[in-house]
């Protein structure tokens, strides 16, 4: 069991981990073409070694190594498949967000700001605006840090009581599309939507449905962010949160890392509602994890501004999750998946290890935190909402994020431990956004005007 755990990379907020039960050599997936060069050399050496060892004593080792190599190749191939399996939901989420931004004007109207960003950006001078946005970002980040630490502490001390309610967010969906409907139909639809979502995320349900729900939730969350965060604050927050992600996951004392390790020790799942899984594997083990998962799951509301949501949340609550818990959930839902993923991975991994070993490697999956979905979508959505280059900028950010995701998965395959998925993608995305908006856009504009083609 412990050996298995040692091989389990963990996921955290946007950190990706993969399941390599047997491989000791560093592995790469098909997207890691650049690194494969180094790895291939190492493998060639290993190959050579196993070939020159003809003694019976080493035969066993040979077989083991061969198994490992086969496994490596398997994971290589499957790694690529899982990369694609992650591409699709991330793409979908971004597409949904962009489509909504473009079609529904609700999200581009300035209706006020979240209470976490009290400083307005409608100021006279640029300096003032910059200062305000820095302050906003600082406040937001410190809130997030506090929440994360709180979550880690609670988890460490096994406080699993968490509230979960999803219905209210779905109300937002209908409100935004401005579809004329009577209240009864709306209530019925929202109720069904919410209940089905709850069931399939926290209990058993078809994988596709669950994935679809997670994508929708992330998209909604991203839309809320896009609407209520003023421009400069949003960019600053994106930048700072990727730095924070990097620090929190990789530093030995980082809260997320502690969460990962704690979860690994306890072999528990974490927050199935907060991670996107590309495989079914943990559903299989869900039955055993159920009590814990349900206690820990959280699908609390994402709408920050309406106090009604809070009360509705509490009403619909089965558990006694106090306000602070809910709040924490909301925080977690934003940054949340950070902690969840590695642990559920651990749980999945650590569970029936023998049956795991004989299970189809196809089910080894890559998990990505919902927070990553959300922030990717925020970046792309903001790009499409506020860029002067419009679709060019959106497209550029989209490609940049996908490439960042590829690279992160590549690094994941190489290092095989919990990695933050945000920094690379967000950095690329931000660089491309600003570069495309300011440099490429005028160029393409002029080209289109004269109908020159490059």
């Amino acid at each position: 069991m412990t050996e298995l755990s040692a091989h389990l990379p963990q996921f955290q907020h946007g950190q990706l981990t993969e399941n390599f039960p047997d491989t000791h050599l560093s592995n790469t997936n098909d997207n890691s073409e650049r690194r494969r060069h180094d790895n291939s050399e190492r493998r060639r050496n290993d190959h050579a070694e196993s070939e020159t060892n003809g003694q019976p004593q080493n035969n066993i080792q040979q077989v083991v190594e061969q198994d490992e190599e086969e496994d490596e190749e398997l994971t290589l191939k499957y790694g690529a498949k899982h990369v694609i399996m992650l591409f699709v939901p991330v793409t979908l989420c971004m597409v949904v967000v962009v489509a909504t931004i473009k079609s529904v004007s609700f999200y581009t109207r300035k209706d006020g700001q979240l209470i976490y960003t009290p400083f307005t950006e409608e100021t006279e001078t640029v300096g003032q605006r910059a200062l305000n946005s820095i302050l906003n970002a600082a406040i937001m980040i410190s809130v997030i840090i506090v929440m994360t630490i709180l979550l880690v502490v609670l988890y460490k001390y096994r406080c699993y009581k968490v509230s979960s309610c999803a219905s209210f967010i779905y109300y937002e969906v209908f409100k935004t599309y401005n579809v004329a409907m009577d209240y009864i139909t709306v209530a019925l639809m929202i109720w069904n939507f919410g209940v089905v979502g709850m069931i399939c995320i926290h209990w058993k349900g078809p994988l596709r449905l669950q994935q679809a729900y997670l994508i929708m939730i992330s998209a909604l969350m991203a839309l809320v962010f896009i609407k209520y965060l003023p421009e400069w604050t949003a960019w600053l927050i994106l930048a700072v949160i990727s730095v924070y992600d990097l620090v929190a996951v990789l530093c030995p004392k980082g809260p997320l890392r502690m969460l990962v390790e704690t979860a690994q020790e306890r072999n528990e799942t974490l927050f199935p509602a907060l991670i996107y899984s590309s495989t079914m594997i943990w559903l299989v083990n869900m039955a055993e994890e159920d009590p814990e998962a349900q206690r820990k799951s959280k699908n609390s509301t994402y709408d920050k501004q309406a106090p009604a949501s809070q009360t509705q949340n509490e009403d619909a609550e089965a558990d006694d999750g106090g306000f602070s818990q809910e709040w924490q959930q909301q925080r977690d839902n934003r940054i949340g998946p950070i902690e969840s993923t590695p642990e559920s991975r651990a749980a999945v991994q650590a569970l029936p290890s023998n049956s795991q070993a004989s299970e189809d490697p196809e089910e080894r999956g890559v998990k990505l935190g919902l927070g990553d979905f959300i922030f990717y979508s925020v970046l792309v959505g903001k790009a499409s909402a506020t860029a002067s280059g419009d679709w060019n900028t959106t497209l550029a950010c989209f490609v940049a994020i996908l490439i960042g995701l590829c690279l992160t998965l590549l690094l994941l395959a190489i290092f095989k431990k919990a990695l933050p998925a945000l920094p690379i993608s967000i950095t690329f995305g931000l660089v491309f956004y600003f570069a495309t908006d300011n440099l490429v856009q005028p160029f393409m504009d002029q080209l289109a005007f004269h109908q020159f083609y490059i």
Partner: protein, 248 residues
């Protein structure tokens, strides 16, 4: 050991699924490379524009032409860089595979690279136009050509095709150390871009571009192993090796 056998069996199965994904993911890498080349070239153009007098129309147009040429050269340079990267990747894949043969050939990768490049360049050219085409407006109301959208669409299409063929030609040239093929690709690209300066005299830009595309298509087809024989057999729906039916 049952586990070992199981994994061996699955290895067979996985190879098929794995190879299909390499091109899929490399399309996005290709798009990224194109984007970076575009970024750099617009950076250069931007600097040049900022450093010059914005009122001088001729100068601005001249700078734009310079920007276009520079961008074309940068794109080809990035294509070469991508080729280098791909080479290394395929070497790695070959070393990793069990039987020493690469799961994906360089020609496939060349095709995918070309498609990725073409798609990205086409998307960037067209997407704003498409978005504008939805909105209210009249084409050419100020005296410009009324065929603007149509010709843009055709031009973009020819460019996408050309990028695909150029990808194949370029990679083939790099593989077999035939520098004249690479030079031909670069010259063709410069020509097509240069022809677009004739716009809105569309007959001057579209017709030669399509002719060039046909030439590049034939050349790429031949380089990929096609021949007149193959084409004939394909068109007549014959099995390879079978004798032609009488009267067809």
């Amino acid at each position: 050991m049952a586990q070992g056998l199981g994994t061996a069996a699955r290895a067979q199965h996985s190879r098929g699924s794995g190879t299909a994904l390499v091109p899929a993911s490399s399309v996005s890498f290709r798009a990224f490379f194109w984007l970076v080349s575009l970024l750099l070239s617009s950076l250069i153009w931007f600097i040049a524009v900022k450093a010059s007098d914005p009122q001088d129309e001729r100068l601005q147009k001249g700078l734009l032409i310079f920007g276009v040429m520079f961008s074309v050269l940068l794109q080809e340079a990035f294509r070469f860089l991508y080729y280098k990267l791909l080479r290394k990747a395929i070497e790695g894949l070959v070393a990793l595979s069990e039987d020493g043969c690469s799961p994906i050939s360089i020609q496939q990768m060349a095709y995918v690279a070309g498609v990725g490049f073409g798609l990205m360049s086409g998307a960037f050219s067209m997407i704003n136009l498409l978005a504008d085409a939805l909105g209210p407006g009249t084409v050419g109301i100020h005296g410009d050509s009324q065929l603007y959208f149509l010709t843009s669409a055709f031009m973009t299409m020819v460019l996408i095709f050309l990028h695909t063929f150029w990808g194949i030609l370029f990679f083939h040239g790099c593989e077999h150390r035939r520098w004249w093929e690479i030079a031909a690709v670069i010259i063709m690209h410069l020509t097509v871009s240069g022809l677009s300066f004739c716009n809105p005299l569309y007959v001057g830009s579209l017709v030669p571009s399509y002719l060039l595309m046909a030439a590049a298509a034939a050349w790429a087809y031949v380089l990929s192993g096609g021949s007149a024989q193959n084409l004939r057999r394909f068109l007549l729906c014959l099995r390879s090796g079978a004798s032609p039916q009488p009267g067809s």
